[in-house]
Symmetry: C2
Subunit: 472 residues, 2 copies
């Protein structure tokens, strides 16, 4: 008896017009309709929201970060307090990642060997060591519905072929050790496919992981600095290798609606990212036509809701003018309302994808979505204005995941801050978005990391580009 | 036809054992049971809460700040957007203050003459001028249920008798001008009694204001650096002067439960303060036995709710351990949950006062409350521990309201920060509590201002000191 069940309700059509599939994941904490997006609750809270808010935005499963919870408040403490669900009062499903990404991306000091990774805490500088066995033990203590095997991701563009090969081999050995260590019968365990952008290594990794008795297959090392085309090829390689494998496929770290639509088309069932929530806290609100930068002065006098017909808490009760005022006054309520909106937008968009899969109209949805991304809508000055804000200011942090040109997301970069004061000034503009505690909470989502470090008012997420249908 | 109605449901008993009274204020936006406490929504939001939260904590009326809303987003803008109720989506009652306190306490540059006050904005340094006529016009544009006449408060201890006399005379002339300027029939207007701690000036002010056709009487210039005894004498002078005057009496800026209980006993019907919410955001949670400093390490392992039986969002769903974790991780949800709790605590305490007034048992409630303040409860280590944290760290800002020794609240002060770094370090510990935007949002509440500037973990509110009955 497995801890979770997964069934494909509508398989991909035989004509190959899409590889997307409609499914249902059954967990000890409820059903998750797939394709699904998981909001990220790094520190046992999806930032600014409480569990009622999470239900209201439509979340069925969330992700929590093993690395962060191990460091603070500690997995043993959470276990003593009754486990993560009880601790954070969330009765829906939870997936914990393995911490593999965070220990190699968040930590200043890290040393990877065949046994594990030694790293320094971003909280207090103390030195710690993760092994596959410890990662599994932490996740069993947290008690999520789904745990993930410990892996060694490498940043796609920053890593040479030899480096990718070594890390992927190591990930395979750690996958077996994670499986051997895992003992909790009410918790599923997913393996992670690595392989960077090397197609043969990626295919070999998919074969190796699929041959092991995991409950699901994660696709790691993407949602980073690769182009959409590169990501697409890597996903196709994994899909072709997996073939008719019945298990759920989870692309870690992707959160832009158009990117998720493309990945669904290539057979992905699960996603997570801090992106929608993080850009919301920076004042970027997603709407079907693109995005609103709520810091723009025009919204101060705009009595309309952020998105007409949106059922979220922000759009039900308040105007653009009010949320624009809250952001200017740095009022905490603004962060909550903006987060509610962007997560509602994202989860409704996933609902739209599921409807299209059920109706067999995913190819049309993709066409509409592409059209929406390039369309000029003269009547929609708001969207035009938001779209004109194409340049993106980011602070490069010197981490491997930051080294690429970032061309894949069409993003340009200013130089790093010239002084500590400038860095501090940028940090203080948001709720400390450049704080290392915030950066890279999730696996390699380049857009997200950039948005997190961008100057306020020039935040660089990609336009949501959802088609008109997302209005529903 | 007046905009509001006020009826005394249970008058003070003839035996003089208390001067407290049970009442009911009827406004265009619902009934307010008195004695009542008004949470403060400075920038058209009670910090961290939305209107559903306000209803849930039991708020019937809130206060919004004329000075802040005039500067940002602007009263004319709010009027164009349909008024303050619609802007902030609050369907309960609203009272706006006159801005008199803020222009003399918040601004660096201020110049008071008989016509009005010239001051510099704390937001952007621009120069503005308030007159009684402008204050009334702003409040009519905001459209609160109750407006307040423009006044010139003076800090009790920092002001000599001559200064108090001049400011009080000016307040009287401004009261008449405010009345003459006020024209909105669906809005009540309250006058303000000043007079510092000079009993004859205070009595004369009460006579003067009571002789004018205001809808209610505010008592200003208190809740500052005076001792409880001095405040009590000033309140008694006002009460004796007002005699059988049927209008509601509103003591501006007081928010400590025991202080409010004392003031109710002296005939006060309405209160407001940022204190419960502000100390909550600093991690101080009020409980019947005193307070919890949630930064204390012991709470990290405490699976109990903050207050057993409390109906608030925090206590219903979460443990002390969880909220302690949220504050350590600087998670936004912590500020909302803590605020929900302290406001629930405060508003339930007012409910307890009303029950006692209805039952004729207010004197007993006062005795219990005094006992609770000095009682040692060996079994309640939490409360003992919280109480032992008596020292309070504050940064003196050089404003007149800061000059006193603060002995009235039994508070000791450390030296001001030795350097800008230290000041910055203190500021960054909270959500920038030392920011001038935050300080002194409300009329002279010394404890509140101190709490706002205190170091985290050494926040200096007075113990709540509520009797056991407040558990209900």
């Amino acid at each position: 008896m497995r801890a979770i069940g997964f069934e494909t309700l509508v398989p991909p059509p035989a004509d190959g017009s899409t590889h997307g599939r409609l499914g249902r994941l059954t967990t000890p904490h409820g059903v998750v309709d797939t394709p699904a997006f998981l909001p990220v609750g790094t520190n046992a809270t999806v930032k600014a929201l409480d569990p009622d808010d999470l239900h209201e935005v439509g979340a069925q499963m969330i992700l929590a970060n093993t690395y962060h919870l191990y460091l603070r408040p500690g997995h043993e403490r959470i276990a003593r307090l009754g486990g993560l669900h009880r601790f954070m009062a969330w009765d829906g499903a939870i997936l914990t990642d393995s911490g593999g990404f965070q220990v190699v991306s968040l930590s200043d000091l890290r040393s990877v060997d065949d046994d594990g990774v030694t790293f320094r805490s971003h909280v207090d500088g103390s030195v710690h060591r993760f092994t596959p066995e410890l990662s599994v033990a932490i996740q069993e203590a947290l008690g999520a519905d789904i745990a993930v095997a410990f892996d060694q991701p490498v940043p796609p563009h920053a890593s040479g072929r030899a480096e990718v090969a070594v890390a992927t081999e190591r990930t395979h050995r750690w996958a077996e050790r994670s499986l051997a260590a895992h003992s909790r019968p009410d918790q599923a365990l997913f393996g992670i496919v690595q392989g960077g952008l090397e197609e043969d290594i990626r295919a070999g990794s998919a074969r190796t992981i699929a041959a092991l008795p995991f409950d699901g297959v994660c696709i790691g090392g993407l949602a980073g600095d690769e182009t959409p085309q590169e990501r697409g090829r890597a996903l196709d390689v994994v899909r072709q290798t997996l073939g008719a494998d019945p298990r759920p496929r989870y692309l870690m770290g992707l959160g832009s609606p158009v990117d998720m639509l493309d990945a669904v088309d290539r057979g992905v069932d699960l996603f997570d990212s801090v992106l929608p929530a993080r850009v919301a806290r920076n004042g970027t609100l997603w709407v079907p036509e693109g995005k609103l930068n709520i810091h723009n002065a025009r919204y101060l006098d705009d009595g309309a809701p952020v998105e007409e017909g949106c059922p979220c808490r922000l759009c039900r009760h308040f105007s653009r003018a009010y949320v624009a005022h809250l952001f200017r006054a740095d009022e905490l309520l603004g962060y909550r309302l903006a987060t509610c909106h962007n997560l509602t937008f994202t989860l409704r968009f996933m609902g739209l994808i599921r409807e299209a899969l059920a109706a067999g109209t995913l190819p049309q949805l993709r066409l509409e979505s592409s059209a929406a991304r390039v369309a000029t809508r003269p009547r929609d000055v708001t969207a035009k204005l938001a779209r004109s804000d194409g340049a993106v200011a980011v602070k490069t942090g010197g981490l491997p995941w930051d080294r690429s040109g970032g061309g894949g997301h069409g993003i340009t970069r200013p130089p790093p801050p010239r002084s500590e004061e400038e860095a501090e000034g940028r940090r203080r503009q948001g709720e400390d978005p450049a704080d290392p505690r915030d950066a890279h909470e999730r696996r390699g989502d380049q857009a997200e990391a950039q948005a997190a470090r961008g100057d306020r008012g020039r935040v660089g997420d990609r336009p949501a580009g959802a088609p008109r249908g997302a209005r529903r």
